[in-house]
Symmetry: C2
Subunit: 393 residues, 2 copies
């Protein structure tokens, strides 16, 4: 049994590799129980993140987790999604208060108990966090109660070019250390910056680039901007122009959100595959530089983008899927990238999940004891391996 939301996952999580029945949950699309006072809302699995935020317009609240696609919120819970806002607002896990789950044997489980939504709990094992990121292997998520956040009074976004990857990452660390409550801090390597410029028509240097967004009151925003500006300058970054109006900001972020298409435009007719690793931020410059060397040596086209405040980055590999030799090079590169992240104390997936493609890396990441523990849990909750077989484990 394979649960299906929007089919926008990137690791083949909804592929029916062993056949079976795929359950399309997209028409269960009710938004129930919005509580403004409790900053919470309950949604069915067909509700996407954009549909929820449209529904929330005028309430002063929003749901900030934003993977690239307009994914369903239960699908985002199932894969433990995150996105550009995670550095400030967290990933899905801390933003899910309760899940209604249809277990493999048909019983109905509420991970925090039926109808409950306290902001914190210490009552037994955290079933909510267990089902977030379970990728459909433990049950169907048929309802999610989510934590909402107040909309910031003011927002400003900017873009800066840096002399090197190291300088861009050092800037990021210093922004975090200065306790600037940065809402988004996104990295583009010079290949990605160039591709985005060409695609969007914006004029940007071909250089390591950071896109930043700040949220706050009008007053505090001015101070955050000043702090950020100083840190950017100390790291040799370009001087900043701030986009404060909605249209201007949307222009900037549409450039970032179109990174996928900008990358595809580098080799028309080719396919894209987005890798996803996450490392401790101190290791990020080395890992990025080594990865760029590896890409050159491999002869692959793969611009890099990253949620750099979390140490999470992607290579968007543009390859000819009809060329078996190139496909093989892509596969070998992604395995090396995963192992490089593991060697740096990181993970083979920061936000896309394990799905089909990362099962071997998962074993290396967790070790035998870790994988055995995952398998014990899977066997306990789905003894007949009915749910999404062949994925994760």
């Amino acid at each position: 049994m394979v649960p299906f939301g929007t089919g926008t996952g990137l690791e083949g999580g909804v592929n029916a590799v062993q056949g079976g029945v795929c359950f399309d949950l997209s028409r269960m699309d009710a938004i129930a129980e919005l509580s403004l006072e409790d900053f919470s809302v309950t949604v069915e699995p067909g509700v996407t993140r954009k549909a929820l935020n449209k529904h929330l317009r005028g309430t002063g609240l929003w749901f900030p987790v934003d993977p690239g696609a307009d994914a369903s919120l239960c699908g985002m819970a199932a894969t433990g999604a995150s996105g550009t806002n995670a550095v400030r607002y967290g990933t899905m896990r801390p933003n899910v208060l309760n899940l209604r789950v249809v277990l493999p044997d048909g019983r109905l489980l509420h991970t925090a108990g039926p109808g409950r939504q306290p902001r914190k709990r210490a009552a037994g094992y955290d079933l909510t966090s267990l089902f977030v990121g379970s990728e459909g292997t433990l049950g169907f998520l048929t309802q999610a109660t989510l934590r909402l956040h107040p909309l910031p009074e003011a927002t400003a976004a900017t873009i800066a070019s840096f002399p090197s990857v190291g300088a861009a990452v050092a800037c990021t660390v210093q922004v975090l250390q200065a306790a600037v409550p940065v809402a988004r801090i996104e990295f583009l390597d010079e290949v990605m910056a160039d591709a985005c410029c060409r695609f969007s028509g914006m004029g940007l240097p071909v250089a390591a680039t950071l896109l930043l967004e700040l949220h706050g009151s009008r007053h505090s925003l001015a101070e955050q901007q000043q702090q950020t500006q100083e840190i950017v300058q100390q790291n040799g970054g370009s001087s900043l122009a701030w986009a404060e109006g909605q249209e201007e900001r949307e222009q900037l972020w549409s450039m970032r959100h179109n990174a996928w298409y900008a990358a595809l435009a580098l080799r028309p007719g080719c396919q894209g595959y987005s890798t996803d690793v996450c490392v401790p931020i101190s290791r990020l410059p080395d890992v990025v530089v080594e990865t760029k060397k590896d890409l050159q040596a491999s002869g692959l086209t793969a611009p890099m983008v990253g949620h750099v405040g979390d140490g999470n980055f992607h290579c968007i590999i543009i390859f000819n899927s009809q060329d078996p030799e190139e496909v093989q090079r892509v596969h070998a590169f992604t395995q090396r990238l995963g192992r490089r992240a593991l060697a740096a104390g990181g993970t083979c997936t920061g936000e896309h999940g394990v799905g089909l493609g990362k099962r071997a890396l998962l074993q290396e990441e967790l070790g035998q004891e870790g994988l055995d523990t995952l398998r014990s849990i899977k066997a306990a909750l789905d003894p007949h391996n009915l749910m999404n077989p062949g994925k994760v484990l």
Copy 2:
């Protein structure tokens, strides 16, 4: 096998109710692998939160989770502890990056893989969150990698009296809705305010009271103070005097931290028991008012304190443990309080854990499917029920 840290838990988690071997981990007290750039540190189970923060002095970082006692950090992970700062910095769960666990059969598990500490992961079920709050029933926590936070540049604390519980809670909701990044927002009922005054010698009205603390840059602090002041006034709160110096602030918070002793002083020679429920914040005024009526009808002395920004509150019941009839009344009251929280969509424990005393309530909270799921996990990871038997489940 019962793991023992500092013995400061409040629900009997370390009591050897079935005999067995108690493992005192307090002499494993190394602080290893402090990484300032990654905002992370790895500690052994004998390290307490105060010892860690002392070690961090001068680094510009701190660990904010603060249950009342100077508990061990692995014990805090085991119980899913939180405290006054959780409204801003989260509970233990989002602040633990990795755990080294000795499983019941002696194998060594690293919940995020050996030596790993990425800020986010989507690699398989979240074993870290599963072991946080497992209360020693799944294994021994022998090392924890924790997330650190930058120290705020400036801090200001204040205290305000309100005409009613409802006004104090309405003020709290509005502070959160206004996106004031409040670091602490603590409630004392009029009985607790009175007891604290008498104990500390501070002069305060006998009224529903909020203690607030704000963290930020000097500039943003002034704005937060102004916003807070306006919201307090709109809700009929007293005018605010801000404690900004460390000594002044410590005086204010020592009053709060001595709440337990202030409560005990109300009936010298008696015992204290702290209840712990958490409800959606919209339901908090009703639940508090009903609970106060219940206390009066029960003839019990039990001042109330609460981490009101999370909807979490405690009644510190002061009772004569030599009087079986009073003990019975205490028990009946705590059961009613737990059920009242459950009826309001909350939990029977926001931060103290289930331990011995809340097992019956846990079943009511989760329902049979939830409890069965917990039991399946326990049976899978500890098939011979060796770890802390008789607790939680």
